[in-house]
């Protein structure tokens, strides 16, 4: 009987992971969720306490800004291995294989933590959106409740020798594109802020999401980091993805590989992206965007 612990930092990824874990182990495992939606600055302390109490075989953590710091730190403190941002987890009898992308997603490698168990838990981070949303549930260690009740000090707002002096909410893309069923994506080929705004209009008009690639983001044409699709950005699984001026670099393609239908518009007839698209159109991106804006819904 394995014990699987999942960190719930308030992001839906915790339950996506739970759903996947249950699909792998079903009744062969005991599941426990460690919940603290507040007190992020106490994450290490709370996780260490939960781990000491529960002695899990596996610890799964969402690969968020917080998770990316907690997981490797736990790895050192527990003297164990950590697999980073897996795109899949596979149960192979007694082995547990974490599928980890490298070289921008061009290559996927299996990572194992030999000898994993309560004394030596396997730790892995999972990107939000990798697994489907789930309504699964399990036993919860609710540190939030304990904090509310004053049983746990939520701690000074520090991170080591640094004091938190300000929190500013980020201006976000209008909706979370990782859930969108229809995505319009602007790549380096869209060329301007005006065209980015047109892509946002397309998304609004047809009820989809507006995404961008890393190069378009770097050009400061308007998209926010949260609109970026790729291995270091969002993973999306829409029914239809339409890319404009996207060249097709591995790290972006990795983020769209599970889309049902991929349409690419690029004025370079030799664009690499055509090899990974269902449909290709050799056109000027702006011309097609304008034509789409004129069409009736």
């Amino acid at each position: 009987m394995k014990k699987i612990m999942i960190m719930d930092q308030g992001d839906p990824v915790a339950y996506q992971i739970l759903g996947k874990a249950k699909s792998l182990y079903g009744d062969d495992a005991d599941y426990v969720m460690v919940k603290f939606h507040k007190a992020h600055n106490q994450a290490m302390r709370l996780m260490e306490k939960a781990i000491a109490d529960e002695k899990p075989d596996v610890i799964l953590i969402g690969a968020t800004a917080l998770g990316e710091e907690v997981a490797p730190a736990l790895g050192i403190r527990l003297e164990t291995g950590v697999a980073a941002h897996c795109i899949d987890i596979i149960r192979k009898e007694d082995e547990l294989a974490f599928m980890v992308p490298a070289f921008g997603g061009k290559v996927i490698g299996e990572i194992f933590v030999p000898g994993w168990g309560p004394e030596h838990p396997a730790i892995a981070t999972v990107k939000p959106g990798t697994f489907d949303d789930s309504k699964a549930d399990c036993r919860v260690i609710d540190f939030d409740v304990m904090i509310e009740a004053g049983e746990i000090d939520s701690g000074r707002k520090t991170q080591g020798t640094f004091r938190l002096t300000g929190i500013e909410p980020r201006k976000h893309a209008k909706s979370d594109i990782s859930k969108a069923q229809l995505i319009f994506c602007g790549g380096f080929g869209i060329g301007s802020t005006d065209n980015w705004q047109k892509i946002e209009k397309l998304a609004e008009k047809f009820g989809g999401g507006a995404g961008c690639t890393r190069p378009a983001l770097d050009m400061d044409w308007g998209p926010d980091e949260s609109s970026m699709i790729g291995t270091s950005g969002k993973t999306v699984k829409p029914k239809v993805y339409i890319g404009f001026g996207v060249s097709g670099a591995a790290h972006h393609v990795c983020g769209i590989k599970d889309a049902d239908v991929i349409i690419s518009i690029n004025n370079d007839k030799d664009a690499e992206v055509f090899a990974v698209s269902d449909y290709k159109g050799v056109f000027d991106a702006e011309a097609v965007i304008d034509a789409l804006l004129e069409e009736d819904r």
Binding site: E79, G104, H120, T161, R163, A249, I263, Y279
Partner: protein, 271 residues
């Protein structure tokens, strides 16, 4: 202020589309892909140089764990402006996962500090490397050294020894203030790294570059390389992402025709 920058030579990310897996040996084939300094490490080095240039009595040291043939990449860091460099190089270090790598780097930092008789106030690194992209090493180095760490730093400056930074989280920007020693992992938008210029290359000739093997480091072999790694690699797969690539519309169609064709796909898919 004494600053250390961790750098990693990696295969050039611009060429990742050319990386393949040999169907016979199942091993990675990266012939013809040149090595560069990990792009965000250059951002880290630029951040260190900017702090040093604004503060008297400051130094920037570069540290890397890499094969000796990457030496010219370390010289490049000296040419960019670092004051001195250390390269930890030994066959025994190779094949390490982030646990074993961060261990060696941390021991390297301790040895550099002992050599120079100082403690680094700040250790900077790129948030993740282009090849593995785990983002683990900066955090794990900090853990070995038992010092603070903050990742995803997108803004950094030092005023009168006080370090001010901004960390980008999913929903919020967090501002922090404090002092070292600490490991800060920076993101690519923190700055634009300066070009290496001819003057820097000439000056780099005289800057110290020290190479240490395990004979110098004297680390237990069981803690190094594959043997010292709590994770072990299995198979490598090159995911096949190819699709049909059918033309959306016929040869002489217009952009307006393309738009109609796109709408038709959308309708069929029900979006």
């Amino acid at each position: 202020m004494n600053i250390l920058v961790l750098v990693k030579p990696v295969p050039d990310p611009e060429k990742y589309n050319e990386i393949r897996i040999d169907s016979q040996t199942k091993r990675l084939v990266r012939e013809g892909v040149p090595t560069v300094i990990n792009p965000t490490d250059r951002n880290a080095l630029e951040a260190a140089l900017q702090i040093r240039d604004a503060m008297e009595d400051s130094t920037v040291t570069v540290l890397s764990m890499a094969p000796e043939f990457s030496r010219d990449k370390i010289v490049e860091c000296l040419a960019m402006g670092a004051d001195d460099a250390y390269l930890l190089s030994d066959r025994a270090f190779g094949g390490a996962d982030t646990y074993a790598t961060s261990y060696v780097l941390a021991e390297g930092i301790k040895k550099v500090e002992a050599e120079k008789g100082l403690m680094f106030d700040l250790i900077l690194a790129g948030n993740e490397s282009a090849d593995g992209a785990t983002a683990h090493v900066p955090v794990q180095v900090a853990e070995w050294l038992k010092i603070s760490h903050i990742s995803r730093v997108c803004s950094l400056n030092v005023e009168d020894e006080l370090i001010k930074l901004v960390k980008r989280s999913e929903d919020v920007m967090l501002s922090f203030q404090g002092e070292g020693p600490a490991v800060l992992a920076v993101t690519r938008d923190i700055n634009k790294p300066r070009f290496v210029n001819a003057m820097g290359i000439v000056k780099a000739r005289k800057k110290p570059l020290t190479i240490w093997s395990n004979e110098d480091m004297k680390l237990e072999e069981s803690r190094l390389g594959l043997e010292g790694s709590p994770t072990q690699p299995g198979e490598l797969i090159a995911p096949h992402m190819g699709r049909a690539g059918e033309p959306l519309v016929s040869g002489d169609a217009t952009a307006a025709d393309a738009a109609k064709a796109i709408l038709s796909v959308m309708r069929k898919a029900g979006v």
